[in-house]
């Protein structure tokens, strides 16, 4: 089935930065789908073709010059309304099936346009520089979530945050991580990079990325390793409003420090080629100059490092632990902790190889076809797209938790369900039953500590009551992440829609006490459900 997708980001593709590389990555992701045609309007006229030439290689991707919208476009590019006008024009010429629009202000403007908002995929609306505790901003995020077809976020962690602060986004928030070519495909390194005395940094130069500290590391290590070099890639130097001293000093050190090789802007494929020559990549953050919301973000540059098969020293964050595993040996809490790790990697080829292999294996999960497969049900409007929203990783410890989904207005906990759970608890004393009453659409969400579902508690027998929780379920997609087993005894009026979601989430659906005992016996007490 042929699908037509418009991708728009306010990033200027003349500059090599994380945002412009992201555009290339997303174009490649959609291009991986069969019969998907991508239209990519540019914000600014082409002046440098480092990124656009990479996109032009893709036969099903069409770049649209912003001068289609107005004859003279300033170097800064189209204004936001002009960009939306251009998208509307292109949509009228040939209708898009999905309009992927990145950045919160654009999404907020686009939801006012009736022609496009029903196909709007509002992408990455949570921005670290905006305060998610500000009620006005929350109201705008809620409006974006309500009006959009889907809200697109980068990672499971970011989805949890978005759905926590914007309940209107529950059940329509999908994940589109940055992606890389599948390891081993044409143009990617065939194996892990060799251990070479080189350090790498690729990306923009901003105080959040402590490049001056990386140069300090180089200077400290050069007496021990005279051949050591730091290769810096990128040409976007942030100039803080307070003055140019930071940027000037960084540029001076990048150009005059012995051992530093500053490549400037380099196309993404060439970056990977450069990295695959071997070395150690540094992906360090200084939280004094950036939000901790970055902890939930998957970085494109990290995936590039991984694809090249170089070991990466990086901050320990939730999203990065998901990519590399919590036991990856090169996580740091502070940039300064990187120095001993660089020293260890330079001294120990076995550590170098093991870390590089871990990184390369991690890149496979973010290959273009895998990333597209995650989006395909929504783009192709498959009938089971709603169920795919429930297919989320289970939380640790969910295997011993049992869900009993009841329809709205349930007045008591059915005795058959209590009997089944009682029998199972004898076999698994740490089992916990959560009775979930479906939240009636339109009703206000329960206040903390005052859940109307608590009215079911008097119907619980005293012996099982301590092992039973009750709650109103307004978010079944996330509720099933916390549960490994769904209980639906014969003859009990359970919520059929929730049972469907339970199956899609990977929970085992059981009907009798014996089946429940068997399901709990197979679950790892500490780990996630199978």
């Amino acid at each position: 089935m042929s699908r037509r997708v418009c991708i728009y980001s306010p990033a200027d593709l003349n500059l090599v930065s994380g945002s412009s590389i992201w555009v290339q990555s997303v174009a490649e992701t959609f291009h991986a789908g069969t019969g998907v045609e991508v239209v990519l309007p540019l914000r600014a006229p082409e002046r440098r073709r480092l990124i656009t030439d990479q996109i032009r290689r893709l036969p099903n991707v069409e770049l649209v010059d912003p001068r289609r919208q107005r004859r003279w476009v300033p170097p800064t590019g189209l204004y936001s309304t002009e960009a939306l006008d251009l998208i509307e024009t292109l949509d009228r010429e040939r209708r898009f099936d999905a309009i992927l629009l990145r950045s919160f202000p654009y999404c907020l403007a686009a939801i006012e346009r009736p022609q496009i908002r029903d196909r709007l995929w509002s992408t990455y609306p949570l921005e670290p520089e905006r305060d998610i505790e500000d009620p006005a901003h929350l109201a705008e995020l809620t409006a974006v979530a309500r009006a959009s077809r889907y809200v697109v976020v980068q990672s499971e962690e970011m989805r949890a945050l978005f759905e926590a602060v914007v309940p209107a986004g529950r059940g329509k928030t999908i994940i589109l991580p940055p992606a890389v070519p599948a390891p081993g495909t044409a143009g990617t390194p065939a194996s892990v990079a060799p251990p070479v005395a080189r350090l790498f940094y690729a990306g923009k130069f901003h105080p959040f990325y402590p490049v001056p500290r990386m140069i300090d590391f180089l200077e400290e290590l050069r007496p021990e390793h005279p051949g050591l070099e730091l290769h810096a890639i990128g040409d976007q130097v942030f100039r803080p409003p307070g003055g140019d001293a930071w940027a000037d000093e960084l540029e001076r050190r990048l150009t005059t420090t012995p051992g530093v090789v500053w490549h400037g802007a380099v196309p993404r494929d060439d970056v990977i080629r450069l990295l695959s020559g071997g070395g150690i990549a540094l992906s360090l953050w200084d939280y004094r100059h950036g939000s901790t919301m970055n902890d939930l973000v998957v970085s494109t540059k990290l995936l590039d490092y991984c694809l090249a098969g170089v070991p990466v020293i990086l901050n320990r964050t939730a999203a990065q632990e998901t990519i590399l595993g919590a036991d990856y040996s090169l996580f740091v809490r502070e940039p300064d902790e990187a120095l001993p790790l660089i020293r260890a990697l330079l001294a120990d080829p076995e550590l170098h190889r093991a870390a590089a292999e871990r990184c390369r294996a991690a890149a496979a999960a973010y290959a273009y076809p895998r990333a597209y497969a995650g989006l395909a049900p929504y783009l192709e409007e498959r009938p089971d797209a709603r169920l795919h929203l429930a297919a989320r990783p289970k939380l640790a410890g969910s295997g011993r938790r049992v869900g009993l989904p009841l329809p709205p207005g349930a007045g008591s906990v059915p005795p058959a369900a209590v009997a089944a759970f009682r029998a199972a608890r004898d076999a698994a004393p740490d089992a916990f039953l959560v009775v979930g009453v479906r939240h009636p659409a339109g009703d206000p969400l329960p206040e903390p500590g005052r859940d109307p579902a608590a009215a079911l508690r008097p119907s619980l027998p005293g012996d099982v009551a301590p092992s039973v929780g009750v709650r109103t379920v307004d978010d079944p997609w996330n509720w099933w992440r916390t549960l490994g087993v769904a209980l639906a005894p014969d003859g009990v009026d359970v919520d059929p829609e929730s049972i469907e979601l339970a199956r899609a989430s990977g929970a085992r659906v059981v009907r009798t006490g014996d089946e429940l005992v068997a399901a709990l016996a197979g679950a790892d007490p500490a780990g996630a459900a199978a």
């Binding site: 936001s80 009228r92 009736p114 499971e156 500590g449």
Partner: protein, 286 residues
């Protein structure tokens, strides 16, 4: 999200800050009045008119150009006529509400008065001699619950009905342990850092602490783990409480370095899990 009970009250701003805020407000009001006068004048009206005419996003020219584009596409591009009304309406009337740059972060909250009030709550609890066996609302895992039971009359609260349970018989103290499961599983995924909407923002925990604080019931968080992980793994939960009992010096330093922190931090021997150890910590902080 800011809980209503968590917002700074008048009394939480010190006098110098209050004077500075009042002076700033007066300046803003004067500037607003001057701007209103300027807007109402002929020159102001003309200026606004010219600015509107020149506006590249919402002025009449870009709107007319959009209308022309719609007409052209309909006539020459053979776009469907049924789409014409909506397309024209969008071209003419589509709002151009573009969110500006994010507003600068608010100034750091003055926690001094909150901390003084927290210390006063702890001191009042420590001074009570009538509490041989205090009634304590608790969230903890099974082993800790058993240990607390020897010293306290426990109320193992649940997320769904703690407000009604505590209102019926208010506790003398709230103690929340860094618990993965919490009261048999009732508080699982609501206290520890977990990528789940129940955990982000710690809505339940914050509401519970705010409820106790509003009723002058002291609140204590017992951190677990070691080092900075004792802070990070629990999403800085301790910062809402009157007192954090830290397991080691590094964790204590970690909690003390949190800028938005209501209470104080004391070090407690981690081996002691009984309620008596918590009470000793309260006396030390008070």
């Amino acid at each position: 999200m800011t809980d209503p009970a968590d917002r700074p009250e008048r009394g939480s701003i010190n006098e110098a800050t209050r004077r500075a805020v009042a002076a700033d407000r007066a300046r803003v009001v004067a500037a607003e009045q001057a701007a209103r006068r300027r807007r109402g004048s002929v020159a102001g009206r003309l200026d606004r008119g010219f600015r509107w005419l020149r506006n590249r996003q919402s002025g009449p020219l870009p709107r007319l150009r959009r209308v022309g584009g719609v007409a052209w596409r309909t006539i020459r591009g053979r776009a469907p006529w049924r789409e014409l009304p909506e397309a024209l309406a969008t071209a003419l009337l589509a709002p151009v509400r573009i969110a500006g740059k994010p507003s600068p972060p608010p100034p750091p909250r003055d926690w001094g008065p909150e901390r003084a009030a927290a210390t006063a709550r702890l001191a009042a609890f420590a001074a009570r001699r009538d509490l041989l066996r205090p009634r304590v609302a608790v969230i903890a895992d099974a082993a800790e619950l058993d240990a607390f039971r020897t010293d306290w009359a426990l109320v193992a609260i649940r997320p769904e009905d703690w407000a009604a349970v505590l209102a019926a018989e208010p506790p003398d103290l709230l103690v929340v342990d860094a618990a993965r499961n919490g009261n048999g599983g009732a508080w699982a995924y609501r206290i520890a850092w977990t990528a789940h909407p129940d955990a982000f923002g710690q809505r339940d925990l914050r509401a519970l602490v705010a409820w106790c604080t509003a009723r002058s019931i002291p609140t204590v968080f017992r951190a677990a783990g070691s080092g900075l992980a004792a802070v990070r793994d629990w999403s800085d939960a301790g910062r809402y409480f009157d007192l954090v009992v830290a397991p080691d010096a590094e964790a204590r330093a970690g909690y003390e370095s949190l800028p938005d922190r209501r209470g104080s931090v004391v070090l407690a021997p981690w081996a002691e899990t009984a309620g008596a150890a918590v009470v000793r910590g309260i006396r030390a902080a008070a």
